[in-house]
């Protein structure tokens, strides 16, 4: 009986030939990610448990990317930034992307990939549930809490239960109006909001191989929204090209055996897929965009780890070029690298920032911004009963700030089309 890619990665990191789903194993960790929200708590536990003079297990392997609460006057949030800065300096962390300096990056999951910290065959843990984003590179990547992270900081090890894998195969090239966000939402809608709890979601088929690494990141990012422990896509030439352009470090490629055992398999005919939205208040509450066109909106939000990458904005700009938005539309690049590229990439002689500004959008600074609400002065945060279409990954009650606001999740195409009409809109209307 063969193994899945995730079982193979975990077996290697446990020093075993074979592992079986359900088994509890101790594994070696390649990279630990933390940020400004969960970093301070992790660092406090690390100091309490390993001693105030303790050093992290490997200063090259703890990656610190503050991103959540950067551009705010909130005193407590600013204190978090000071706290993690002191820790980074004291521990001489090699990879600390310090806010308000040239090193600042923005959203950790995107920055991690851009800076070459995501590599096939490795094990990544992060104190953020969307750490599963990095499964797009054929690695095991999963979110953990502060105590587990502090344990890794001191030892480089953690116990895990080997997950079963659910496989989603997309047969045939994805239609041009279907984005990674649609694929993510379709799969979550299929298994349900908690349908992949404790499991790995593996994405496969020519539809997945046909899309870019950035789009794959959006898909794996949202595995957690079905309860998934991780999302994963087997590495291919696109993965290797992306990774090799950003790191010199050697890595191993793993692939699921043809006789690997899956907990469940879903197969889709890509040609039949249609743009979708997730309605309040769950990413699993999925419906076709065309069925929701009577929903009147107050705001559109294009940004975050699942909607703030270059390709996300390129898609939005294709629709927004030469048009005006009918509602408040917020553009938040995930990282400083994305922000720079938005000025370099053009459509019909206009760069993307110009297109957004001419359309009437508000452009914010690279960070997580209003994806998760945050302090009162956060860019794009809701404060009343706004109805929002958003490229972010969660639409829980109060997620974007106000308990009275309602969030619809959608692809950048759908969000941009909806920004133009002021109602939820199937983007095919603008993509003919």
């Amino acid at each position: 009986m063969g193994m899945t890619i995730v079982e193979k990665i975990l077996a290697k990191h446990a020093g075993k030939k074979k592992v079986t789903p359900g088994e509890n194993i101790w594994i070696e960790v390649d990279t630990l990610l933390t940020h400004d929200v969960t970093g301070p708590g992790t660092m406090a536990i690390f100091k309490e448990k390993f001693g105030k003079d303790a050093k992290v297990w490997d200063k090259d392997k703890v990656v610190l990317i503050p991103d959540h609460y950067i551009f705010t006057k909130d005193k407590h949030a600013m204190r978090n930034l000071e706290y993690v800065k002191e820790f980074a300096n004291e521990q001489e962390l090699t990879y600390y992307y310090e806010p308000f300096t040239d090193k600042y990056k923005g959203v950790c999951h995107v920055a991690l990939a851009e800076e070459g910290h995501t590599r096939p065959g490795e094990v990544l843990f992060g104190t953020d549930s969307h750490t599963c984003t990095a499964g797009a590179f054929g690695q095991f990547a999963s979110g953990i809490g502060n105590t587990d992270a502090a344990y890794i900081m001191g030892t480089g090890k953690l116990w895990v239960k080997v997950p079963e894998t659910i496989r989603f195969t997309f047969e045939g090239a994805l239609p041009p109006y279907i984005m990674g966000k649609d694929i993510a939402l379709i799969s979550i809608g299929e298994v349900g909001f908690s349908g992949a709890t404790y499991k790995c979601m593996q994405y496969d088929g020519s539809g997945i191989r046909g899309i870019s690494v950035e789009e794959r990141m959006t898909i794996c990012n949202m595995a957690i929204e079905a309860g998934g422990k991780c999302g994963i896509i087997e590495p291919d030439d696109k993965t290797i090209e992306y990774v090799n352009a950003r790191t010199d470090k050697a890595y191993d490629l793993f692939y699921s055996d043809t006789d690997a055992v899956y907990a469940k398999e879903y197969i889709y005919d890509s040609a039949k897929l249609e743009p979708v939205v997730a309605k309040p208040y769950s990413p699993g509450n999925v419906d076709l965009a065309k069925n929701c066109e009577d929903v009147k909106l107050d705001r559109a939000y294009i940004g975050s780890c699942t909607g703030g990458k270059v390709e996300d904005f390129f898609a939005a700009a294709k629709i927004l070029k030469g048009r005006k938005v009918a509602i408040d539309t917020f553009i938040v690049p995930a990282t400083t690298t994305v922000r720079k590229k938005l000025e370099q990439i053009t459509i019909g002689g206009e760069n993307l920032i110009e297109i957004f500004k001419k359309a009437g959008c508000k452009v914010g600074k690279p960070s997580c911004a209003a994806c998760l609400g945050g302090p009162e002065d956060t860019f794009g945060r809701t404060h009343a009963d706004e109805v929002v279409i958003s490229t972010t990954n969660r639409n829980f009650p109060g997620r974007m700030g106000s308990l009275k606001s309602q969030i619809y999740l959608a692809s950048p195409y759908t969000a941009a089309a909806s920004a133009v009409t002021g109602y939820i809109t199937d983007p095919r209307k603008f993509l003919k």
């Binding site: 509890n24 929200v37 969960t38 301070p40 708590g41 406090a44 536990i45 309490e48 448990k49 390993f50 959540h68 609460y69 909130d74 407590h76 949030a77 204190r79 978090n80 992060g126 104190t127 953020d128 549930s129 750490t131 979110g143 953990i144 809490g145 502060n146 105590t147 587990d148 502090a150 344990y151 001191g154 030892t155 090890k157 909001f193 908690s194 709890t197 404790y198 957690i224 309860g227 422990k229 769950s282 998760l372 609400g373 945050g374 302090p375 009162e376 969660r394 829980f396 009650p397 109060g398 997620r399 700030g401 308990l403 009275k404």
Partner: protein
């Protein structure tokens, strides 16, 4: 670990996410400062939808601690963010145990590894058999929750492998006991 957990019950349904347990704007207080970390108790469950919060306030007025010690909930409790502030906030508010049909993975793990509370799984979904304010008693050895007010008992799943970590008081204590770390 206490053998019996007794107290008043707070009841919620399915898919209570970590943003509801502790909204993102409150993730900025020091967790290692005993005075400041009381704020996590004060704001525990402050992200609940307004209709629920008005009907059954979890924290009353300016209090830092809830009048409830046990939560009985439905499916997928603690879904969403990896924030360990979620089980921490419940602990600070005085919650000793949660009984859910099932949990989101990271919340469950954080509850156990951080030693914040005991996350029980009920054999059946039992949130509709309890009312907020009922008195209940959890017998850890026999894995039973008793609704004292309604005089009914329900079976819980055995804690299984994680009982050892809970017994030790969290991952670090467990690892020390096992000799994994000094």
């Amino acid at each position: 670990m206490e053998k019996i957990i007794k107290g008043k019950v707070y009841v919620l349904g399915d898919n209570i996410d970590t943003d509801q347990i502790i909204p993102a704007m409150h993730l900025v207080y020091k967790t290692d400062d005993p005075e400041e970390s009381k704020l996590y108790g004060k704001y525990a469950m402050s992200g609940l939808p307004l209709d629920i919060a008005e009907k059954q306030p979890f924290i009353k007025g300016d209090a830092y601690i809830s009048e409830y010690q046990i939560m009985v909930v439905g499916n997928n409790f603690g879904c969403g963010s990896s924030r360990e502030h979620a089980p921490l906030a419940l602990q600070k508010a005085g919650i000793k145990a949660v009984v859910a049909k099932d949990y989101a993975r990271i919340f469950y793990r954080n509850s156990v590894d951080g030693g914040f509370l005991v996350p029980f799984e009920s054999k059946e979904k039992i949130d509709s058999f309890f009312d907020t304010g009922d008195e209940a008693e959890i017998d850890l050895e026999n894995a039973i929750i008793k609704n004292i007010t309604k005089n009914k008992e329900y079976k819980l799943n055995s804690l299984g492998d994680v009982a050892n970590i809970i017994e030790a008081g969290g991952l670090f204590n467990y690892a020390q006991k096992k000799g994994f770390i000094k």
